[in-house]
């Protein structure tokens, strides 16, 4: 069939040009020596001016990590990581603690400008123009171009700047880097850090606990509805560094917050490790909405280079009637290995997981979620859409469990996979564990390719083939796109287009 042949040819032609955030910036960096040891951890802790308890916490995690073995159960394959061949700390050299944007290294600002991340508050407030790069080059439409969004920008190991802090403070919301939170709000950090993902959780989370360098901290006090979208933008720039960020979001009783996360990295031949930990805590009646557009460098057409994205994300619905919702659009990374989860501890709490995972080239995705029903009348919903093209492997792996006391637990899971091309694989591995007779779990999964009938229907109306496929794919992922905040939805749709470009024919 010529159309199939064409597809294969186009997939083969997929070029690194597709990744438009692959540039690297020369910025003077402050780095710790390569490798991992207690000294490096002390170094990181000292750099961050951390209290003793924090250092002890890190060292405890490190000692634990030494006893752990790397897990191998996921359906991903990669050469063994040499953990001594990574820089665990890399930060742009700048005046100590820039007080305002004007003190930040202009090169650094250019990076964000180039990425289209608005770090200047007025510009956004005015909402007049799209930021343009200093060299006159038009910036591609980006995730962060519109609206009032407070941004925490994390560059390699440190948070460079956080916008709208003052305005948020007026509402009582704390939004800052986790390093700052450790210094300024130790009581909150101590209370919640590691309470969702303990230092002993898993190999990569334990490593993260020992060496995490920065990340975002959000605290929304009782009864406050966060007045704007919060977001963090992660950028890996330096060579051979690992990025280990830690994010902690706490919504007190009745609070609401919506948080967005985005990320990019330069194109390089070697693989880089990104092992983050995200912890969410929702108390009574609180709601946290966490959205991710993951666009790390996926490697080139031969599968060389790219980010290893091994992340532990977990939300704890600690309070009654609390709600945590994860939405993710995964298009980047050489390997994605993560399961944003919800622990439904509070009675009547609910968890949601909406995911689109697009893989192309030689990307490997093993992602999904866990919904752990502990409280009474808890409910969860999982909608996962996997699209595999090229030579990629795309796995959904998810667990739904109801414990003895989780009366009336409800789950609905739907995971659909779409295969484009005959060299890729799509896999579905759901685990359902019911220990309560009143639990009601439903799971359905399908795998198919775009049907000729669907395509014919659209093309017959005068729409060219490539557009027809894009239309069908967008229809396929619609359920998830609808869950994204406005700022993200349009861009996510475009991202999916970019990732699949050249793979549909």
């Amino acid at each position: 069939m010529p159309a199939v042949q064409e597809t294969i040819d186009r997939v083969r032609k997929i070029d690194v040009d597709q990744y438009k955030y692959g540039f690297q910036t020369e910025i003077e960096m402050d780095k710790a020596p390569k490798g991992l040891s207690e000294d490096i951890i002390r170094f990181i802790s000292a750099k961050k001016d951390e209290p003793d308890w924090m250092l002890e916490w890190r060292l405890g995690a490190y000692r634990r990590w030494l006893t752990l073995e790397e897990p191998t159960w996921a359906r991903v394959h990669f050469p063994k990581i040499d953990f001594q061949d990574i820089y665990y700390y890399a930060a742009p050299k700048s005046t100590p603690g820039p007080k305002s944007l004007s003190e930040v290294d202009p090169e650094l600002l250019k990076v964000y400008e180039k990425l289209g991340i608005p770090l200047k508050e007025q510009e956004i407030l005015a909402g007049v123009q799209k930021p343009t790069a200093a060299d006159g080059e038009e910036i591609g439409d980006n995730v962060y171009k519109s609206g009032r969004v407070a941004v925490d920008a994390v560059f390699d190991s440190v948070s460079v700047v956080t916008t709208f802090k003052e305005e948020l403070a007026k509402a009582g919301v704390i939004f800052c880097s986790i390093s700052e939170a450790i210094r300024e709000h130790p009581e909150l950090v101590q209370k919640y850090l590691g309470s969702v993902v303990p230092t002993s959780d898993n190999f990569y989370a334990t490593l993260n606990s020992a060496v995490f360098t920065d990340g975002s901290f959000v605290f929304v006090p009782k009864g406050v509805r966060c007045p704007m979208e919060l977001s963090t933008y992660f950028r890996i720039n330096e060579k051979n560094t690992g990025q280990f960020e830690r994010t902690l979001i706490i919504a007190e009783e009745g609070a609401y917050v919506s948080y967005l996360e985005g990320c990019t990295a330069p194109q390089r031949d070697e693989n880089q490790l990104h092992a983050a930990v995200v912890e969410l805590v929702a108390l009574d009646d609180a709601e946290i909405k966490y959205s991710t557009v993951q666009n790390w460098y996926p490697g080139d057409a031969e599968g060389k280079g790219g980010i290893y994205n091994f992340v532990t994300k977990r939300g704890d619905c600690r309070g009654d009637r609390s709600k945590i919702s994860w939405t993710q659009v995964e298009t980047g990374s050489a390997i994605t290995w993560k399961y944003p989860s919800c622990i439904l501890r509070g009675d009547d709490s609910s968890g949601e997981f909406y995911s689109i995972a697009v893989s192309n080239g030689y990307q490997q995705v093993d992602s999904g979620t866990k919904m752990i029903h502990l409280g009474k009348n808890t409910s969860s919903r999982i909608i996962s859409k996997g699209i595999a093209a090229g030579f990629s492997q795309n796995t959904y792996r998810g667990q739904v469990s109801a414990h003895r006391k989780a009366t009336n637990a409800r789950n609905f899971t739907n995971c659909d996979s779409l295969l484009i091309g005959d060299q890729c694989g799509a896999h579905t591995v759901p685990y359902m564990e019911a220990k309560n007779a009143t639990a009601k779990f439903e799971h359905e999964a399908t795998t198919s390719k775009i049907s000729e009938d669907q395509k014919f229907y659209v093309m017959q109306r005068g729409i060219p083939e490539e557009e027809a496929i894009a239309l069908i794919v967008n229809g396929f992922v619609k359920d998830v796109i609808q869950q994204l905040p406005m700022e993200f939805a349009v861009e996510a749709q475009k991202l999916i287009g970019i990732s699949l470009e050249g793979s549909v024919g």
Binding site: S417, Q423, C424, H427, P430, M432, N436, E442
Partner: protein
């Protein structure tokens, strides 16, 4: 590979290894068979699978197999009346096949011990993977069973019933069958025993020839004192059809593996399973289905009823190989959880490497639908009877699909038998 020292052997592991040393001289087999046995016991020496082995995640055999009974040579057990009236019965009693066997036209039956002695079955004794603990256990100890060969074009008038019956102790049996091209057969595999501690391993291997049609029924009614580790492996040829029906209604620790591969275009596989779980028992049904060639189809429907403190597991993996285009595969696993102490875990998996396929699976776990219950009770049926009706209807649906009236009746009778003692 494993840097850690082996953990200390469990009592069961030690008992198995010791038993092998004692039994070895009595086990039939030529050189090739003995080499397979040695390899198999080596695998067991590395330890029984734990929950860290993915395919045994929900059935931690190392922890669950707490003791291993001795071989009891003296125990007496008698062949049972067949499930389907008029069947030709081939009994294996306490792990030993019989010499006096019924004549069936177009069918050659051989004792497996003979085929072990002459080594002709040696190639089939290999386990199918690193995690194939049942295959290894059986290969190490298998002493007897049958080889049933149904000649090309034979249409069996009466079903064949293979009975594997034990009266305590250990028995390790293998049942081999080849159904020739264009042949038609109904085979019942009966697994039962008396109330005594027992360890049974039973491996069935079936080759369905091109264009053949086979209905294979596994009726497992072991006592609550038995550990029953079973495996059913089949290859389905071109345009051949295999319907496998599995009914688990007994046993203390049960694992029934189903390993099926379509080897010819147009092959069709149907799995229908009923797990009736009661008491303090553990029952695992694990299926691995390989769609290895283009244009093959499969459907799997599993219904589970969980009562008492029973724990149930269903794992079903459908692999669609890269060149197996036009595969159509559907799997459903539905569970009724009827008691607070019952548990059911299910893992339906799809592994798909071909793009032009239609595959799907669905799984549900629920209690009895209150609307249905209300509907019946509003019509004057008391709650207990209404519940009974609904539960029975839930599983009977799968049986009724078998279409053959005699089969449906016979299986519904087994079902009634179970409900009368466990309802």
């Amino acid at each position: 590979m494993n840097m850690h020292a082996q953990p200390q052997r469990t009592l069961a592991e030690t008992a198995l290894i010791d038993a092998f040393g004692e039994r070895l001289s009595q086990l039939p087999g030529d050189g090739a068979v003995m080499v397979k046995r040695d390899d198999a016991i080596e695998a067991i020496k590395h330890g029984l699978p734990t929950r860290r082995v993915e395919s045994w995640h929900y059935t931690d055999l190392r922890r669950l197999l707490t003791s291993v009974p001795a071989f009891e040579a003296g125990a007496v057990v008698k062949a049972l009346a067949p499930v389907l009236e008029g069947s030709a019965v081939l009994p294996v009693l306490n792990g030993i096949s019989q010499t006096k066997l019924p004549e069936i036209e177009g069918v050659t039956v051989q004792r497996l011990s003979e085929k072990l002695t002459d080594g002709s079955v040696a190639p089939g004794l290999d386990p199918y993977g690193d995690d194939d603990a049942i295959g290894a256990l059986n290969t190490a100890f298998v002493a007897d069973g049958y080889f049933v060969d149904i000649a090309d074009g034979t249409e069996l008038e009466k079903p064949i019933e293979l009975q594997n019956l034990q009266a305590g102790g250990q028995s390790h049996v293998r049942l081999l069958a080849r159904v020739g091209a264009g042949a038609k057969a109904i085979v019942v595999e009966r697994q039962a025993g008396e109330r005594d501690e027992a360890l049974v391993s039973s491996v069935s291997q079936l080759v369905v020839g091109d264009g053949a049609q086979v209905t294979w029924l596994i009726v497992q009614e072991q006592p609550e004192t038995a550990t029953h580790l079973a495996q059913f492996k089949a290859h389905i040829g071109k345009d051949a059809k295999l319907t496998l029906f599995v009914m688990n209604a007994g046993g203390r620790l049960v694992r029934q593996e189903v390993v099926v591969r379509t080897t010819g275009e147009g092959a069709d596989f149907k799995l229908r399973g009923i797990n009736l779980l009661a008491g303090d028992t553990h029952t695992d049904t694990t299926m691995v289905l390989d769609h290895a060639v283009p244009h093959t189809t499969s459907t799997e429907v599993i219904r589970n009823v969980v009562t008492g403190k029973a724990r149930g597991v269903f794992q079903g993996r459908i692999n669609v190989h890269q060149y197996a285009q036009k595969t159509n595969a559907k799997m459903a696993c539905n569970t009724l959880l009827l008691s607070d102490d019952g548990e059911f875990s299910t893992k339906p998996e799809l592994e798909i490497f071909a793009d032009d396929v239609v595959c799907g699976h669905g799984a549900t776990v629920t209690e009895i639908d209150h609307n249905h219950l209300f509907y019946l009770m509003a019509r004057g049926i008391d709650e207990k009877s209404a519940r009974g009706l609904l539960v029975k209807a839930f599983v009977a649906e799968v049986i009724e699909e078998l279409e053959d009236e005699a089969l449906v009746e016979a299986l519904e009778e087994r079902l009634d038998g179970w409900f009368s003692t466990h309802g």
